[in-house]
Structure formats: C-alpha cells, structure tokens
C-alpha cells in the first residue's frame, strides 16, 4: 500500500493526525468503538454509584439530588454515548466489508459525525461540575421538571443533545447512501447480510426521529430562555405535549438500539450453527414491521397520564401487535440452530443468551402492554428490569458478541477462548442477579428513580446491587480481554476465522487491510 496509515513509528504528531483527520471507515469504526466503550465505562460507573447507594435503605453515600443526576446521566450516557455509537462503530467497520464497498459513501462527513460526539459528551459530563449540578430530571427529561424546575446546566444538556442528534443523522445518511450506492455487483437488496438490512432500517428510523428529539429540546430551550409556554400549564401549554413528542422519538429510539443487535445475532447464530439463517426474507419483513409499528405505539409509555380510554385501547392493541414480528425473529433464530452443527464459542454464547434474555424481556414487554396491569407496573422497578433485559441482555450482549466475533478480523489476533467464556459466565450470572430481583421489587411496589426505599425492599436491593457489581466487573474483564488480544493474542491470518462463517467480510485477509475492495468483488 502506497500510503498506509500512520503508526506510532511515524511520530506521535502523524499518529494523532491520522486519527483526527481520518476518512477511513475502519479507523472511524475503531474510534466509534473505543469511544463507546469509554462511555460504557463512564455510564457503568454512574450505575455503580446508584447501586452502591441502594445497597441498603437510607442515604449513606450521596444526597438525593446527586442520586437523581446519576440516574439521569447513567441513562443518557448509556443510550446516546455507549450503545448507539457502538453500533455505529460496527456499521462503519462492517457494512463496507459486508457489501463489498471500498469505504463509506461520505467519508468526510463520517469523520465529522464521529468527532463532534466527544465534544457533546464533554459538554454533558461537565454539567456535573457546574453550580447547581447536572441534569437531574431523568433521561426522559419530562417537563416542567426539566424546564422551569431544572438547574441552569440544562442549557448545556440541550446543546449536547443537539450535537448528538446531528451526529446520529449524519451517520445514518452515510449508511443509507453507502448501502444504496456502493453494493458490489450482484449484491441485490435481498442478498444483503441481515446486519446491513437492520442497519438500513435503523438509519431510516434515526433520520425520522432525531429531528423530533431536537424539536423537543428546542421547545424546552424556548420555554426556559425565551418566555414561551409549550410545556407550561400556567402559560396555556401542556406538560403532556412534551411526553407525546418525547415518546414519538423515544419509542423508535429503543428499536434504533435493538435492531442492529438483531442484525449482529442474525450473523453469528448461522455461523456457529453452520447453517444458513432460517427465514431470511421474513427476518427482513419482520424488521421492517417492527420499525413501522415503533412509530404508532408511543403513548404506551403514558398509560397513567390520563388519556381517554379510546386512546388507551388503541395504544394497547398496537403495542401487543409488536409481539408478532418479534416472535417471528426469535422463532427464526431457534430454527436456524435446529438441525445445525452447533458449537459454543464466546460469540455464540452471548448470542444464545441474547435470544433467551431478550425474549424474557419481550415477555415482560408484552405484560407491560396490557394497560390495566401497566397501571401497577408503570414507573416501578418492573419497568427498570424489563428495559435492562432488552437493553443490556439485548443490545450490550449482542455488542459484546460482535466484538468477540469480529475482533480477529479487526486486529488479526485471536482472543483467548477460555477467557472469553469466563467473561461470558461472569456477565451472564451477574446480569441475572442484578436484574431478575428488580422484577420482584417492582411488583412489590418499589418505584424507579428512588434514592431511598422502605425496609420491605431491602433484601432484593442488596442482591441486585451485588449482581450489578459482578456485572460491572465483567465489563473490566471484557476490556482486559480486548487489550490482551490486541497486544498478545495468537496471530491469525486466515480469511475465514470461523468455520461456518459466510459473507464478503470473510474473503479479505485478517487483519483486514487498511483499504479493501478497491476493485468491487463479484458476489453471486
């Protein structure tokens, strides 16, 4: 290669310049992945503070005011800083390799969409050190708690959200443009790997809803600084309007998080079953159906807000329907394994755990869709348990599976299988100890976002905290495994790391060269 990437051997100036100015999809993918991991650890640290305070009843370590900042920042950092950028990173790395493109369609915009993110999170995190503290109104930032009653730092929070939104929209446009224009000859839409499909659909969701979020925070900005009353009842506005706008963004957002995770698992399960994905086209249609439904169910987050009964019934029925395409996906994954030739390497373990725990979260989701029962579940730990089963055991497990699955392709080194499996078991056990008891807590009546609780909730909170610490430790093991693999892993040069792997990414050498598919491959 005439102009390979600068390494440390070229001097640190050249090395830093490489990363700052890079337009290479692999470099940008790497940046996204490391950034999201850093944010994952930061958000995890907030979670550890939360669980440490909740270890026992009473306030021991922090004040309720700071506790609220922690729950808020944990949610914001995990959703916008850890999970979303992690999947954008995977998309950057893998989509060009999977569709046989030399790079992303819009490389300079790719650079921009990454490099504004660290600034957004620097702004967001810096609010913790400001007078009055950081955002303390929950990651859902319901008005008027987030407007009239918010600390002054809310303006920085709004600015940070705007930057994140811009980054997401640019990233999504790039993915759509790449997939539409740069597929290798012969790669028709219905031959694309499912990961690519789920990301295209996700990208459309992002382009559709991030502006809605931007609208919501802009209205907040106007209410706070320019005397409008969008969300202020005293001025003729309506706090419920905020919730409608927010959840019109917020519900598609949860599918934005989970759809690429579906894609990853749909790559991994066939590989370790040594059998093609069952029901490919129904997977694509199910993904599209879930994406469509995500736009028409938002008010199921608001069953207790006092909607007319006709509204409640509609949103209940529509929400229940989501179970159908989601079920199709689960059945397809299991049938892919059926009559396969299964092995259980770390990526497969994480994927199987994903299927089981995500389905469990799906069951509680179905329960939550029943409006009459939701009157009891709403805003309790039952909901917290539900969305951690789909977000953590869903998105994070899938992301972890992706790391182990593609790490050999990225760095040309093989991770230590025993260490990988140990990390899996610690994560799996820790996760369930942390979040299974939260179902019981919620049903017994513990509301979420509580800095302190009555003595009847003490036992399960302690168990949950212990599980959370174990799960937190598992993430440090993941970090260790990745670094140990990059530094000392067993070199692997074969193109096809996994016996059962299919797809164009397994036709290039390991580690993947800096530039791939300069000439489009022929895809049959």
């Amino acid at each position: 290669m005439a102009h390979g990437p600068a390494t440390l051997a070229d001097g640190w100036r050249a090395y830093i310049a490489r990363w700052v100015f890079t337009t290479n999809h692999k470099d940008i993918g790497t940046l996204y992945l490391w950034f999201s991991f850093a944010m994952f650890l930061l958000g995890g640290a907030f979670a550890m503070i939360i669980r440490a305070e909740l270890f026992q009843p009473g306030m021991q370590l922090i004040r309720p005011e700071f506790f609220n900042q922690m729950t808020t920042m944990h949610g914001l950092v995990m959703v916008f800083g850890a999970i979303m950028p992690a999947f954008v990173g995977l998309a950057n790395w893998m989509i060009p390799l999977m569709i046989g493109a030399p790079d992303m369609a819009l490389p300079r915009m790719n650079n921009l969409s990454f490099w504004i993110l660290p600034f957004a999170f620097a702004i967001l995190t810096s609010t913790l050190f400001m007078e009055g503290g950081g955002p303390n109104f929950g990651w859902t930032f319901y008005a008027p708690l987030s407007t009239t009653y918010a600390p002054d730092s809310v303006n920085f929070f709004i600015f940070a959200i705007h930057i994140m939104g811009a980054s997401s929209i640019m990233g999504s446009i790039n993915i759509i443009a790449t997939v539409m224009n740069m597929r290798a000859p012969g790669m028709t839409y219905m031959k694309m790997p499912l990961f690519v499909w789920t990301w295209v659909i996700t990208a459309f969701l992002l382009v559709a809803v991030m502006p809605v979020l931007a609208g919501a925070v802009t209205m907040m900005l106007m209410d706070i600084n320019f005397g409008t009353s969008f969300f202020d009842a005293a001025g003729g506005g309506d706090p419920v309007l905020f919730q409608h706008v927010f959840w019109f963004f917020g519900h598609p957002e949860v599918y934005i998080i989970i759809l690429p995770a579906f894609g990853v698992v749909s790559q991994i399960i066939p590989t370790f079953s040594r059998k093609p994905l069952f029901g490919y086209s129904s997977m694509v249609y199910a993904t599209a159906a879930i994406a469509f439904l995500s736009f028409v169910v938002w008010a199921h987050h608001m069953f207790t807000v006092g909607m007319p009964i006709a509204g409640e019934l509609y949103f209940m029925y529509a929400t229940m329907l989501i179970a159908v395409p989601t079920g199709v996906k689960v059945f397809n994954w299991i049938t892919t394994m059926y009559k396969g030739s299964l092995t259980f390497e770390t990526p497969m373990l994480f994927s199987i755990a994903f299927v089981i725990l995500f389905t469990f979260g799906g069951f509680t989701g179905l329960m939550l869709s029943i409006a009459a029962a939701d009157m009891q579940y709403h805003d309790t730990y039952f909901v917290v348990a539900h969305f951690h089963y789909v977000m953590v055991a869903g998105a994070v497990f899938s992301g972890t599976a992706a790391i182990y699955y593609w790490l050999p392709k990225w760095c040309g080194k093989m991770y230590n299988e025993t260490m990988g499996q140990v990390q899996f078991w610690v994560a799996f056990i820790g996760f369930n100890i942390a979040f299974m008891p939260q179902h019981f807590l919620g049903l017994a009546g513990m509301p979420r976002r509580y800095a302190d609780y009555g003595l009847q909730f003490a036992d399960w909170n302690m168990v949950s905290s212990i599980g959370a610490f174990i799960y937190g430790g598992a993430q440090l093991m993941l970090l260790y495994n990745v670094i140990a693999t990059i530094r000392n892993g067993k070199p692997t040069t074969e193109e096809k790391t996994w016996e059962g792997a299919e797809g164009l990414e397994w036709t290039v050498p390991s580690p993947a060269p800096y530039h791939t598919f300069a000439k489009p491959p022929e895809f049959k």
């Binding site: 419920v240 079953s273 006092g306 259980f344 029943i370 009459a372 029962a373 009157m375 709403h378 799996f428």
Partner: protein, 381 residues
C-alpha cells in the same frame, strides 16, 4: 471443562425460566412479597388477574420455546457429531408462527379490554377527593366538605441519614393520612401543582399522574378497613422518594366522626387567625413549619444550596419590608421552583414561618408577623 461449563449453562438458563413461576408460588404463601398484590378493590383485583393470565401465557410459551431451544442445543451440537442440514425456509411453519401468536394476542385482548374498562369506570362516585401533588407532599381536599389538609413524610432526616435507627414504618409514615370510609365509591381527581407527580396506592390499583393543569380520575371502593401505603411514581425532584401516600380506610361511623372533627377543627382554626400571637409562640411554631416545609430546599441553617436554592439567611427579601416577604410566600416566584404556599400552609403557619425566617440565623429584623397580616395580604389581592 467446557462440557461442565455447558451443563452449568443449561441449568442456569432453566433457572431463569422457572424463577417467575417460583415467584408466583412464593407470593401466595410467604410474607416476603415477590408478586403484585391482589389488593382490596375491584380494579386491583382486575389488574392482578390479567397480570397472572399474562404470566401463565408467557410461562407456557417460554417453556415451549426455550425447551425446544435447549433440546436443539443438546441434540444438534457438533461435538455429538451433528452434521448441519441446509434448509432455510418453510412457508408453512413461518405462516404458522405468525398466525398462532396473532390469535393468542386477539384472545388476550378481551380480558385486557374488560380490565381496562373497569379502571375507567369512574362515574357516579359517593365521595370525591381532589389530590394535588406538591414538591414533596400531597394535598387532599374533600370536595364539598370544606376539609383540606397536607400529608407529608413523617420519617425524620436523622433516620434517613443513619443518625438514628430506622423505625418499622421507615418512609411509610405521614403527618396525616387520607381517611376513607368502607363501602363507598370514591373518585380521586388527581392534579399537580408544580411538576408532575403520580399518586399510587398498589392495593387500590390506582396510579394516576398528577400533571399541572390537568385532572386525571381514578376510583376505589373497598370493604376492607386498614392502612394502605403507596408512593409517588413520577420523578419530581430530590424529594421524589420522600412523599409516600398513606390511606386509612375506616368503618363508616368512624369515618363520619373523623370528618366531623376535621370540620370542627377548621371552624376553630378560623377563630385563631385574628388572635395576636406572641413572638416566642411564632418563633417556636415557625421553626417547626420551616423544618417541615422549607428546609428541604433552603436547608435547616437557611443557607440554601448555591446555584439551586437561594439562601434565606441574609437575603434581601428576609431583611426587607415585611409585605415583600409575605408576597413571596403567597404568590411564589414565577419561573422558579419557589411555589405559592397560599394553599399549602395556613395563615398562622405562614405568619409563623415568616417571623422565624426574619429573626433566625442572625436575620435580626425584629418585627413580628401576625396571621392577620397574611390574611390581609391575601384578601387585598
């Protein structure tokens, strides 16, 4: 080693599947509550019933799906010599597992709808109670009875911060509980004064958001006297965890007696407004009111929290003219967290707390604020 790990994997997974079943069995037998309470109203019973239907439907589907999955993981593993087949679609099963879940959902929609209709059956109440959420307390008003009071957490800060052992009713006790009679249909009209709160009593199956500018209705009717504890379930600021709901359901005669007492209290109170209070009396009462209603934000030493809640100690309002100080409490400060206390505190309490604020922590203004001054300000508006 890997084999053992896989066996462990299987046993743990089955544990995950079985836990909810174990949970529901436990809940019926033991005091350590794992499941939703059945509660004491039709609504809570309806919620519980549909909840249990859903648990069992999900359990049956889960056992079937995961059972098949574990069988596959056992039978079709490469280490047992399984050779992969190559099929990857089958229209029949794909239609089947689209249509069957749809039918299950349609069937489940019927009990779900019936239950929801029950929740919304708020017509023809015997008693109506307006519930207003404040940061961080509840106000109950018996509509048409002239009875209205605030209900605040009674657990002390010392218990919360571990300076004293926690009592049996830690965070489940209030200054004054909502009192209801048995056998009457009660409609709750829930609203918020500042931010959004949510009024929840699990045993009634009533959870209604308290949104400023909006009324939401719920209802309860029970035959079981007792004390029922609930919570605020919408994040409303730093005191979110510290504004429980306590409801006492009494026999009708007891309830009537209680209501008559409350009405008499209100009449008696009216006569104390005109009375001249001694500064020492005001100071003592004022401190009590301050710690209960103001110290949450402005802190016990009047120092506030810089950047969030202003200090009262040395503040121009506390040291300025009395009328301005009264105005802040009666009108609140628009656009800030300082709300109007006109409906929350009595004239006597407002006068006492103003007197306290103007004469404590070195704010030695030296004047005396009487309840009648507060009443005059209110009436001048």
């Amino acid at each position: 080693m890997l084999k053992r790990a896989q066996a462990l994997f299987l046993s743990l997974l089955s544990l995950v599947v079985l836990l909810p079943i174990a949970g529901s069995a436990f809940a019926e037998s033991s005091a350590s509550q794992l499941n939703m309470p059945q509660g004491v109203t039709e609504v809570s019973q309806a919620a519980y019933d549909i909840h249990m239907i859903m648990i069992w439907v999900c359990t049956v589907i889960g056992v079937g799906v995961f059972g098949f999955m574990f069988y596959v993981m056992y039978a079709h593993r490469k280490s047992r010599g399984a050779v992969a087949e190559n099929f990857h679609e089958h229209l029949g099963v794909e239609l089947l597992w689209t249509i069957v879940p749809t039918i299950i959902l349609i069937v489940m929609a019927f009990p779900a709808t019936t239950a929801l209709l029950k929740v919304y059956d708020t017509d023809n109440p015997d008693i109506e109670i307006k519930i207003t959420g404040y940061q961080w307390k509840w106000q109950y008003e018996y509509l048409g009875e002239g009875v209205k009071f605030m209900s605040e957490l009674r657990t002390s800060d010392d218990e919360v911060y571990g300076r004293e052992p926690k009592g049996e009713h830690y965070l489940r006790e209030v200054t004054e509980a909502l009192v209801l009679p048995v056998g009457k249909k009660i409609r709750f009209l829930v609203t918020g004064n500042d931010v959004i709160h949510s009024w929840w009593v699990p045993d009634f199956g009533v959870k209604r958001d308290a949104v400023p500018g909006l009324f939401t209705a719920g209802w309860a009717k029970t035959d079981k006297p007792g004390t029922y504890v609930g919570e605020c379930t919408e994040l409303c600021g730093q005191g979110h965890a510290f504004m429980p709901v306590v409801v006492e359901v009494k026999e009708e005669a007891e309830y009537n007696e209680w209501l008559a007492n409350k009405k008499a209290e209100a009449v008696e109170y009216a006569s104390t407004i005109g009375k001249e209070w001694a500064p020492e009396e005001l100071m003592a009462k004022g401190e009590e009111v301050y710690l209960q209603s103001c110290a949450g934000c402005h802190q016990a030493d009047g120092g506030g929290i810089p950047g969030v809640f202003p200090a009262i100690k040395g503040s121009p309002i506390a040291l300025g003219p009395q009328i301005g100080h009264i105005a802040v409490l009666i009108d609140g400060v628009p656009g800030s967290a300082m709300q109007s206390f006109a409906d929350q505190l009595s004239e006597v309490n407002i006068a006492a707390v103003i007197h306290y604020q103007r004469n404590a922590w070195g704010n030695d203004v030296g004047d005396v604020t009487q309840p009648i001054d507060v009443l005059n300000y209110k009436q001048s508006k």
